[in-house]
């Protein structure tokens, strides 16, 4: 398949995300097998040569990718992604939405106002930012959940370094009963079709409100993403 002249067009929009293929876990943190040939075949079938080259460069034993090496890459990628969040002042923008939301929840009464859960938190930039800046005031539990144990381990280490009171654990934020307000950043685009509908249905059952941030699809999005990758990433 010929490569596009423009570098920002070289990743087909139909291709699954590489992080989804490499970071497929169940809700208990058990990883699905990293079968190298299967992953390469999936990427090749979608014409995603960029991701295919990344996978070809990852250490492997036989047909299994080295999980530690994969996790190290995912952690590095998430730290670089945090730069993007910082560039867009994302933490402050989340706080700007949550503060009036929590005020409204308190006016209604009940326990809803006391918990903010970051769904698919990765290294938990948002809850750590909110904790560091005390953006939501006292009495609000800041939590983060992710299926990837390595990312949660990294998030806990970062929170401990700066003595931040954030509740971080492997698991599904929406399976823990009343979840207060759910937030997420860059998670929604990992769902589609029935999975997305099921995600929202569960949220309606267990959260008082949910706030999701993700990239707005537009003709300029691939170029913008490429430019910021070139400008701000290694």
């Amino acid at each position: 398949m010929g490569q596009s002249f423009f570098p920002w067009s070289r990743i087909p929009s139909s291709s699954p995300e590489l992080s989804d293929l490499l970071g497929a876990f169940d809700a208990h943190g058990a990883r699905r097998p990293l079968e190298r040939a299967a992953i390469l075949a999936t990427l090749a079938s979608h014409g995603n040569d960029v991701a295919r080259r990344v996978v070809e460069g990852l250490p492997h034993v036989g047909d299994r990718l080295d999980a530690s090496a994969v996790d190290a890459q995912l952690v590095e990628a998430h730290i670089e992604l945090q730069r993007l969040s910082e560039e867009f002042d994302h933490g402050r923008r989340v706080a700007d939405v949550l503060v009036p939301l929590l005020r409204a929840a308190r006016d209604e009464g009940g326990p809803w106002a006391r918990r903010v859960s970051d769904v698919g938190c990765g290294i938990a930039y948002v809850p750590r930012y909110l904790a560091f800046h005390r953006a939501l005031g006292d009495g609000v539990t800041l939590a983060g959940r992710d299926f990837n144990p390595r990312l949660i381990h990294e998030a806990r280490a970062l929170a401990a370094e700066e003595k931040l009171d954030v509740e971080l654990a492997v698991g599904d934020a929406l399976s823990e009963g009343a979840s207060g307000v759910a937030v997420s950043t860059g998670v929604l685009h990992h769902f589609s079709g029935d999975a997305l509908r099921a995600f929202f249905a569960r949220q309606r059952e267990v959260t008082w409100a949910f706030v999701h941030f993700d990239f707005q699809p537009s003709p300029f999005a691939p170029f913008g993403a490429w430019l910021f990758h070139r400008a701000r990433f290694r």
Binding site: I79, Q82, Y125
Partner: protein, 163 residues
């Protein structure tokens, strides 16, 4: 001497920002001021040390040339050309950094795009181009060219060394 002094300032400035570049994106902490300050300090010190070594090398070479005034004239001319090339970049980067102090995501994004997006300018490529241009236009004395090349190579090593 004015050009050589200005070049020294630029070298320290570049060293500091090379240090910043070395650590940017490597820490997941919320408050990275200490990380950045340490890295920029290390980069600035490395830049100053490189400038000192190049200066010492120039003094030694000047002492060994038949015409010391001609050597320093050469060195000053090359320094002037380097300042002409790199000072505008430093001013632009400083201005864009000042713009990033505006608390608007749109303004910050545009500043970032202008500063970093234009082929990741200023880059190693620009650094080499500026040095070659300065040397070709001014260095009759081979020793000046060698010192420039050595200084430029050392400056390019600041980022990986701080990292």
């Amino acid at each position: 001497m004015a050009a050589l002094s200005a070049l020294l300032v630029l070298v320290v400035f570049d060293g500091a920002f090379s240090g910043f570049r070395a650590v940017a994106g490597t820490s997941g902490r919320i408050d990275k001021r200490v990380d950045y300050a340490r890295a920029m300090g290390a980069g600035a010190v490395m830049g100053a040390c490189i400038a000192a070594m190049v200066g010492a090398g120039a003094i030694i070479l000047a002492a060994g040339t038949p015409s010391t005034p001609a050597f320093w004239q050469d060195a000053n001319l090359v320094a002037e050309r380097m300042v002409c090339f790199f000072a505008p970049m430093a001013v632009l980067v400083s201005a864009l950094l000042a713009v990033r102090a505006v608390r608007s995501v749109d303004v910050r994004s545009v500043a970032s795009t202008l500063m970093f997006g234009a082929g990741d300018a200023p880059s190693a490529r620009d650094f080499v181009a500026g040095t070659v241009w300065a040397v070709l236009g001014g260095a009759d004395h081979g020793g000046v060219a060698v010192l420039c090349a050595a200084g430029a190579a050392a400056m390019l090593a600041v980022t990986p060394c701080v990292r």
